[in-house]
Symmetry: D2
Subunit: 276 residues, 4 copies
């Protein structure tokens, strides 16, 4: 199991998200409250959109709490769209090519959860990936396979549809081998403009996922909190675990649903795997 | 805070100590029960006496639970005198030169605990180290400084006396700067023949330390346990935390005392810092 | 390009092979004379047969010349059958799962060279691997794919035949895509009893490979050399580059051939890819 | 021996300096032409001035040519004052705390060369460091000791004077122990506004150092080169080795001298160690 956060809004230093909150991602890496594992020490990654077409990545197999470079970068890199992930491996090695977020062109992808009994279904799922993408698979995780399935199934044109199709495929392949609950997931995706965040599991008992309350509402609730006044109305966070204890700040993403964060009104919709 | 074990007895594969027990050192690295920190993920080290005059060391800054090489070595290296340590840093960087055990000639040293407000006393303590040893200090920890102080004060000739003198010196220097409780420690030392294990703290509330019950007694208690029958009468373990729940197997090392494990009757003695 | 050595004979400390010779593998990692690249700093690995059924592995992505653990282990591990490899990547990431030797059961495999335009043929070659082996592929190199093809094609029963079949398959797939010279290789294989060493390339201009002269002959040539007198008659080395300048000690493995080192008379035979 | 570069001028992406030039620092890490060692694979570091008061650092013990994070960061971080260093150790371990640039407040420092027979003089030199700085020493290199000596001797107020005093002290201490040529150095220092670059050795045969020709002159020489037209008149580089073969672009820093790069006219002055 892993922990992640996705941020979209007023450009902030990475450290504002990763180090400073009371129950920051770094704190979660040592003492996760809601995760299946309390320690998330099998590598981490941060992706952000900077001046290049393709987003920047920083990944490491050191535990996040020990990484001096992460601390330096977090203090010096400012971005308005950030995805960060700390990993607790479900079996595959701790190596940079297994760290999230995964990237394809402008797209970033991170996943908490797993494809059940992945070694048994890995080959069949990998064969379903577009052959022209095959050589782009660098690591050995279920999460990366899932990502390239979604790319194969149209991620660039219809992200929610592609994820629904990929999950449908994974469930079909898994069930054909007698796997009762093939998929457990929260997923975040971005193209640099929008963020999609999904919560789903075949068994209907998905990993935790929260989104932040609208800034206008939060400011009304806490008129004296200076942090909230520096953030634009559009600023939004989606997280595996709340970053602090501010009452009213965090809302549970319902089972089998996904949110879209973009310019204008954010949305929350139903997630339904598409049979393949 | 850290966790460690010292083993002396019938040669065993490292994995018998490090991976296989219910509450093995690897398990403790993720879920310590008695440590100040539950996660010990800031590097580890194993020292063992093989065919060379100086003992062998394997150290890594990866969390022990992720280190594939450790798993390989543990399955293939057999030794009769083993010291193993998992580190939870009290501030100094996670780097191999800060991992225990530290080595000087045939001597190995590991420490759980800390010298209080070490940055303030580091220079004065370092100046008390024999100038000819100065260039041998490779890392930046309090534990290594403590070790070289003990070497300076006669470790090779009278290990308990040298540790008592080093602690006396550290307490004097600390108290001269208003530090109330300068020393917190469990320490294990070996020269390849004997093992000394110390438990002490200036405040009289020391980190946990346990020694295993005599094999003859354990075998009488558990006549049907095959593991116990493969180990010689002289086999003994000293550990920060019990490796399992076998009733009667583990004994608390009392406050302000140390044990000596050697051929013949093992001993438990009082530890009294010597004023310097 | 990479450098490797395979040793079979009187048990020696790893350091006798890896560190001590004038032009040791460590020296080659910094200053290869015969390699395509002068620096081989993209990780390394050592495999040896110890007391377990499956051989032991130590792999690291640090340059071999900097790895303190390698130095420690080399001084303390003694074995009679050793494979060691230093890597200069041809594109895939420096990570432990890409370091040689690769292992399958009792089998070790290392490769110098490459499958030409591997990203283009990777999927087709991977599909030819036995599906039950698929999940055992941990890294992303051409060398590991080549290994699992050989396992699929009978490595355990007829190692030279399996390599000839794997190369035949790789050449067929490559040529079907217009690749003129699909294979460049020296390969070493062992099952813990025997060592096979291959030299071949589709273009007939293969990477260098040498085998050591018979110990009885070397001792006759150098009756006063004490090192040679400590090694059994059966001791043999196969290397990418000679480890020193002893005249008469090293013999070129001819193009398109392979050697077998085993109890009794070692053999040198012709290597002919088998059309698939 | 090491290789380094210091850049001051129009903000550029790090990759423009570190990866793109024909004979970039990355190329030098594998194939140095002018260094004592051809391979500089014992870690590296980059320091740059961003929005914080203290400069940012990225350091790694991986060879620079393999570091995927460096490639990512270099493509996404833009700065106007950059110091970069690749390390070839003269004996101290490859660990992040031994990587240059070293930092103290706003100050960065990097060094190519060595203090002769450093283990013999280390203690005496370290004792000459201001006791209040002692605990800031994190690594074990001569270069960091040299840096803190310069800080002790007034770096913040008179950088060239402090370096001259530090070298004077190192030479006195070395010569008192019979060391003929105690110092070999090129050094770069910055406070975020200015850069100082020194070339000196006790024997008068110093490591190579070059500074770039004035942009106005270069543009007159190469009126059609677009790169030169994007850089301000004040842009200047100081490097261990020229980054390319542009005739007229690189000038040798004379023996026993130092340059100052700042707003206004850059200067080249004589360097004379001050007796201590």
């Amino acid at each position: 199991m892993c922990r992640w956060l996705a941020y979209s809004g007023t450009p902030v230093l990475l450290e504002e998200l990763i180090f400073k909150p009371t129950h920051s991602l770094i704190d979660q890496s040592l003492h996760s409250r809601l995760g299946v594992e309390t320690t998330n020490g099998d590598g981490f990654g941060v992706g952000w959109y900077a001046e290049q077409d393709i987003p920047a990545l920083y990944k490491s197999t050191e535990p996040a709490w020990n990484d001096r470079n992460l601390r330096e970068l977090a203090r010096n890199i400012r971005a308005g769209l950030i995805l960060a992930h700390i990993r607790a491996s479900t079996g595959t090695p701790a190596q940079q090519t297994n760290c999230h977020p995964f990237r394809y062109g402008r797209w970033l992808w991170m996943h908490n959860g797993s494809i059940a009994r992945f070694p048994e279904v890995k080959r069949e799922l990998t064969l379903a990936i577009d052959p022209t993408l095959y050589a782009d698979i660098e690591g050995s995780t279920d999460s990366e396979t899932f990502f390239f399935l979604a790319v194969t199934l149209g991620l660039e044109h219809d992200p929610p549809g592609a994820v629904e199709s990929a999950v449908g495929l994974i469930e079909r392949v898994g069930r054909s081998r007698g796997i009762k609950h093939p998929m457990q997931m929260t997923v975040a995706i971005s193209d640099g403009q929008r963020v999609w965040a999904f919560r789903y599991s075949s068994e209907g008992r998905s990993r935790s996922l929260f989104y932040s309350t609208k800034m206008t509402t939060l400011r009304a609730l806490y008129p004296d909190n200076p942090v909230l006044h520096n953030l634009s109305d559009e600023t939004r966070l989606v997280v595996s675990e709340p970053l602090g204890d501010l009452a009213g700040a965090w809302n549970n993403v319902p089972e089998s649903s996904y949110g879209v964060i973009h310019h204008g009104q954010d949305e929350l919709r139903k997630f339904t795997p598409r049979p393949s």
